[in-house]
Symmetry: C2
Subunit: 340 residues, 2 copies
């Protein structure tokens, strides 16, 4: 039985399941015949969006809840076979303004989920959405899982702690768990209503609106990008295999590309948009990490995963999606004018 077929009739819970990657996973899992429970707080500023499950809303169960709530988690985890644990605060900038909220969501909530599993469902498998942000400014490239964890912001620290909790609960309490350290993920259903959760969704929106994209500095810094369907596939593989237990895996893109080349490709594929180089805003410069790209060979060796969607194709699919659905991802017309 393939890892995909193994999800038929399985009970799968997705925290942050109305968000970008979580909802993509939900779509794939519904297609595979899984019984999907989506848990999402729908906090307005975050990425949860009911439109993200458009078309499958009758085939999933949605439970609005905050993962920080221990008693709720104690109930919801029961009977689940797999938990894809994607709920989180993802803004680096917000974490520096309000470190306490970031701590609550990225540390305490993870302990809530894991404690619930330890006490009420110790045989579940948990796959955590980690981040390449835990590495900070890389000492060497490409970055492997042997690179030191040296976060440059509070969000990176708390995401690292959340990940470590999963590994300790795996090793000490036998709650099988692993973490995927995701690089920049892009694709349909990404939050594009503001620019505080990663730049690529924002750039895609600006290109679509034929607006100006601002590139900080000379735009030469390198990143790797992974298409959201590929990222979701990494979760499915990790959730179906015990070879992942207790491990962390980089989940990176095919080839690094500079910000400038990315923007030029995006504008070419979109047929709209333009760009300009601007000075780095100081509050972003200070937590920027320079060039970064990932070595994903460990997950390829262990779980057979590798990215399969070329950037040009992924951008085209993303643009196509937002051309059809952009009004569901931006504020109403009146506030939209103000935001631009």
């Amino acid at each position: 039985m393939t890892y995909r077929a193994s999800y038929r009739d399985r009970r799968v819970m997705i925290t942050g399941g109305l968000g970008f990657i979580g909802s993509t996973l939900a779509h794939q899992l519904v297609d595979l015949g899984a019984r999907v429970l989506i848990v999402d707080s729908l906090i307005p500023e975050y990425g949860g969006n009911l439109f993200n499950i458009d078309g499958i809303e009758e085939r999933v169960r949605v439970n609005v809840a905050d993962v920080r709530q221990q008693s709720t988690m104690n109930y919801l985890v029961r009977g689940q076979d797999v938990i894809f644990n994607l709920a989180g605060q993802v803004s680096h900038i917000d974490s520096m303004e309000d470190p306490s909220t970031d701590l609550e969501i990225n540390c305490r909530a993870q302990l809530s989920i894991l404690e619930a599993c330890r006490r009420y469902n110790p045989s579940v498998k948990v796959v955590f959405a980690g981040t390449r942000q835990v590495y900070g400014r890389p000492d060497s490239l490409p970055v492997t899982e042997q690179h030191l964890v040296k976060p440059t912001d509070v969000n990176g620290i708390n995401k690292a702690a959340g990940e470590y909790y999963h590994l300790v609960y795996n090793d000490v309490f036998g709650v099988r768990a692993c973490s995927l350290r995701l690089t920049n993920v892009y694709g349909p259903r990404h939050l594009v209503k503001h620019n505080r959760q990663g730049f690529i969704g924002w750039f895609i929106r600006l290109a679509l609106e034929d607006a100006e994209i601002q590139i900080y500095g000379d735009g030469r810094q390198l990143r790797d990008f992974v298409f959201v369907d590929d990222a979701a596939d990494a979760f499915l593989r990790a959730g179906a295999s015990d070879a992942s237990n207790g491990q962390v895996f980089n989940v990176g893109g095919m080839e690094p590309i500079s910000h400038r080349d990315l923007v030029e490709l995006l504008i070419e594929v979109a047929g709209s948009g333009r760009y300009r180089f601007v000075e780095w805003p100081p509050e972003k410069r200070v937590i920027d990490i320079g060039d970064f790209y990932t070595d994903s060979s460990l997950i390829e060796r262990t779980l057979g995963w590798r990215p399969v969607t070329p950037l040009r194709k992924g951008l085209a699919l993303t643009l196509e999606y937002y051309r059809a659905h952009l009004p569901h991802y931006v504020p109403t017309a009146s506030t939209q004018v103000g935001a631009l």
Copy 2:
């Protein structure tokens, strides 16, 4: 001017200042002419003990407060030149039973202190008491600061997060900070009323009481031990030098020694006590880290620190201290019987 002379008339705050290492620092700082503010929560189960400042109680200011309390921290940090930040929950076992309290003290409280500094005293220097526990089971020995952070318990994770916050506040907000990753510290003023905060203080108490020391397994696992006066000296050096800013340093002992050899040396120096090998308790086995000893050459190169107290001498000084003062460190006679 030497680093020690630089503390004359300096305002120095010590969080956890009634504890083992904090109070040792207070004694040294009073001798150096510093103006010492001790902040301690005096939580009964923890290491704070008013007897630890016996002899200097008129020359320090003691403020009973919990470092988790943001408004209190906002007030207390003002005007301080240096903060030695030692408040923490240190029990590995407790962190696995009650991870949420460990999170509050070792993560949230550190953010409280750093936020207070950022907003009300950004020119202060903060020296954080880190721990070798962040490394987990070592991949190679001796362990340098380049070793991966892979904690084996919740306490190690939260201490790692607390340390990372200091580094990020140094790099991003200019609140000068560094961390000392302490190995097993021993000496006078250590908590010995129970055995949940490290084994060496407990062994010393048992030897003094001519009781049986239980060694888990075959007693061959290696550790390095640092005498508390030496550890305090590392704090003084780090607090007086900007070369430490943004850095982490291992603070280790002179030479590794096995548990068995340590216990035999202790019994020999004490002239009392005996030992027996016992099976590992499962809840300790699962978070044990095997052999561990530290490479402290980075702090020697950067700050000129190295351990100077041989283990035999340190044990003799410790035994002498507890012979004189043990009743201040153990429960009353009636509960003591129950505890033994």
